[in-house]
Symmetry: D3
Subunit: 244 residues, 6 copies
């Protein structure tokens, strides 16, 4: 059930304690992919998993602005502070839980959100009346994972599958030419770069040419299957261990 489209009476009829909360980011994804890439992909994975799960799952509306200050030099990038982002997610989850949907997966499409989502989900699970975990879709795609980049093979592939009109095919060549081979500037496993503009000229990391539509289809299948498996485990999990 998509909450945005349901009425409150539909919502009241939903018999489940599972909810998905897609969160993304509005930020540069190179010259060829839209600023909304991370919302689009998070939503696509949440939708696919919601459909595939054998049982009712509430899908909340997608949170469009996340933690993306690292891309601030690229026009159109929006961001809020980690504190504000955590509060926004935490309180939204609390309102979901108030209706009985108190096992929540935050379905994430943006690497920059990962640490804050880990923190806020732990806070929720320990101190609020809900259990929450984050799921970042490109962590759930098996071997493809190592190819992530930024605006690179995986995101381009998934977009080509779920929102092909948003990919500027005529700029793919530019995108790969200005791309950085890897994220960050590393010494002793520490990234010395503060912003992405320090290491990528056009905002891209990795080769978007490696992101075919077919690969996108596979990525969606893998990620949504991983999320379904996660939903099953959460539904089955005994939360008594948390002292509830």
């Amino acid at each position: 059930m998509h909450l945005s489209e349901a009425t409150w009476t539909d919502a009241a009829d939903a018999e489940t304690d599972l909810a998905l909360l897609p969160v993304g980011s509005t930020e540069q994804h190179g010259p060829h992919a839209p600023l909304g890439t991370d919302v689009e992909t998070a939503k696509a994975v949440a939708d696919a998993a919601g459909d595939a799960y054998d049982g009712e799952v509430v899908v909340a509306p997608s949170i469009p602005v996340g933690i993306a200050e690292e891309h601030r030099q690229f026009s159109g990038t929006l961001w809020v502070s980690p504190d504000t982002f955590r509060s926004y997610v935490r309180e939204t989850v609390a309102s979901l839980a108030s209706h009985g949907w108190d096992r929540v997966v935050v379905v994430n499409g943006h690497g920059g959100n990962v640490p804050a989502l880990g923190e806020v989900c732990e806070t929720i699970s320990r101190h609020d009346a809900a259990y929450a975990v984050p799921f970042t879709w490109f962590e759930g795609v098996g071997e493809h994972r190592s190819d992530m980049g930024h605006g690179g093979p995986l995101e381009t592939a998934l977009l080509r599958h779920v929102a092909p009109d948003l990919v500027r095919e005529d700029r793919i060549e530019d995108a790969r030419e200005g791309a950085a081979p890897r994220w960050g500037e590393w010494v002793s496993r520490v990234n010395l770069a503060v912003d992405s503009a320090e290491f990528t000229e056009n905002g891209v990391v990795g080769d978007p040419g490696e992101g075919s539509r077919e690969r996108g289809e596979e990525l969606l299948a893998l990620a949504s299957a991983a999320l379904v498996e996660l939903l099953e485990a959460i539904e089955a999990r005994d939360l008594g261990a948390l002292g509830r």
Copy 2:
């Protein structure tokens, strides 16, 4: 230009200092209208005005969860605290302004957001590097305004025009029967009710039967025209008076 769909290179090419930030709420709108009504309507008005305005306007992604705790007893209603909502809007506006789009209209679809948006826009205009004002679409529809209600004539009408599939026509009769004639319980012009559940049984205020698609078309025309006029005034306004 819709930011979610544009690339950063498109955004960098935009020659404007005007931006629209749609904000809504995910909350009960009776048995006949979707929980996402206030996002849908805010977005529709922002889009229409962005199209009609003679010049470039950046349209940011819509913020889906607002201040709606007053509807908490109705299933599916989501909300954040006023503090968190203000921070989320303020920081999003600041990131818009960082790219040069520093004259921002927050296009609002929800009455419960109005006081907080007034406050945060004043804070932004006085203390941040941007000028922001809130525009609530149903304030910009002339005489229709007095008919607002909740899930009532105006919202039902506008939805029938912009998202007819989301209106449950077969529940309109139920909706009008359980509706309250007016918002709140008033003594000496003070509303004694804390939550909407204290005065409306099914969440509706006003008669959704009075909300035809034709009326919705007129509402969109009126609201978007008012917003265009506002954009023109803001574009022309000398902000030197703020001591910048």
Copy 3:
């Protein structure tokens, strides 16, 4: 019972759950009316209603500094941020409630406080051990309401009745000459002005010459009667609906 003048033993004897908390502002009111106008008037209305109410009502000391940054260009105007103001009111109400006076009317004399008081009273009523509502005196004066202005007819009239020495009669002429006809600069029902100095030269809105002492007497009678009616309704109100 005026708390400032009572002893704690008197307070312990008070058999009521009703309290009034006057809040004002210290801010410009033109060349003819004192900076303390909004405190003086709020206190006068609270006192009159406390006297007129048939039963015990605790009257707390008046909070003198509110939300008035909009008048910052006029010398002597004091203000705190909305966050600080809400905290100060909320915690003061909580301490009133700790003594059993947990039905509280915040009696307000300043338009700039209205949104923040609405928000904080809702927060108190939903989340704290008290029920609170705001009452702004010039909302409770019937048809006079439309004449409000700033340092205009209503405030000048009420001051002439309750604190005539504080009105500079010899500057009334100056006051009306430099006055603005209305508050704000409006386009599409949105006020584009951030500060009052953008639209009023001497800080006045409306004609203070229209504010006779007799009118002030009537205003006090109307406002205090409205407040008494509100107290009666609050005393009688079943708060079980809040789930207490």
Copy 4:
């Protein structure tokens, strides 16, 4: 110049950078002295010093609710948290300073406010555009100081001088009988008591019978003279040492 009674035009004419901000507390002072004692006395000292100082001094309105949770068991005691109190004082001082009155003495009537005022004045002087120091009147009365108590000799004496009607003479005997000889329960110079109710039955510490009107007159003279001397030193002080 008393800000509450002045107009903004009067305030604009004031040629000074000195301001006094009286702060008190609304809290139990035994069965014989009013809850407003600390506001009344702070205001009296500020007024007397303002009159006696040879030059213009702006006197701000008195802040009536301070840090008094230690008296929470006694009816009528009001309090806010130290954080809120500091914010309220800091922001009020900032608005005073915005008009050029940037050397501010916070004139305090309540022991419980002392640590927080020390902290906030240091914060202001180091980080804001103002210089502020706290002056607690009963610290400026020479040898009398050791007699302070609570609702005891000094406060009773000063009240008898400045507000005799507020002292319940017929309860003085009760007051002294239930009084504690000293404040707190001490081991190794640490006060183990958290609240005053742990060591005083009726809220009084010290013998109010030792507080004659004549003594009150002397206290006011001493305290206001000390405050005048402080104003002179502050006016003369070179603040360049703060790096301004």
Copy 5:
């Protein structure tokens, strides 16, 4: 039991509700004494008292950075804001209390921490599941107290006893020559100085030459005896008065 050196299984075996939390400061103490003086001394007193107390006491690790902005002009001085310091202490105490050690003495070595520790311990005792009091070691040394200074007789003496290698004996002469005779610049019992650099050239107050090792030995004996007495009183204290 020193928590840092114990294992969790040792900790689980501890049968006590008493804990000591040493807090210091890293700040200038003249040319002869180390920046860590206040941590070293607080720890020494806590250790000695922990050893001398007839029963089990948990000694937590020492908090090394406190409230010391007043020394900011002297190189090496570290500080956090009072808000952050209070939160750090409060939450650390809460975690101690979660293991059953809910009667806590914060053993303090720095004057600048005193007001904030008083405030946070009251907050803890009133609102958290613990009882906490602050003990500042140089308050517990009888008549020596009046000699405190800064980097002066008492601190130099105690260091010579507990950490003689950290005292630069060859700079004592310099230290006394550049020392100020007293702390602050006082008018009407108000300190007009904001930072210590305004009244001491080399950071020292008082004569470190008056601080022999023998005196240090006596100071440690006095302070730890006072702390043991405090622990005994706290262990015996009935906390029912707090309404637990």
Copy 6:
């Protein structure tokens, strides 16, 4: 230069802009290793690197309490909230930077601190007058990294080398028997466990028997060499890219 032991005059003489801030945690490390393990190890690595680096480096005192609520069920574990931890680190770094040491490595000994340190260092580098990066020692030990565990091979080894007295050799057998093979309970690469007590009986993860003193010596050499390399890179780095 160790700040705790240096005087301010020594500090003023230091010619460097490099500082190390060790941060640890006081938390369970099984029945055989001390609660202070993460402080001890962070400090050892910082000290070794400070010694090995060819140039001056300021070493700040170690922060002993971090983010460790996940171990709350094990006695003796202390923790503060992520917000408080970030503030404590951020403000400490700001005071380091105020003395010219504005290139700071936070040397970390605890996995639970990693996300918060990443966030706060980015905040510092973008918004404060300093550049800061986190270095977690067990990330800098090459292939050993995969053996980390908790109270397992690496920490036991390093302790045996730097603080052998703190390792309870007679409990190693118990430690390995009750140990979990890996950290967490994973589904779709998401850890479903909220606290460590959900998956480890005695708090240990990995086999401490695999942690010989010799291995500890090698770990210290590897980690400190990696940190030295990091210091060299930071010293050489052009921070102009941050727009300073």
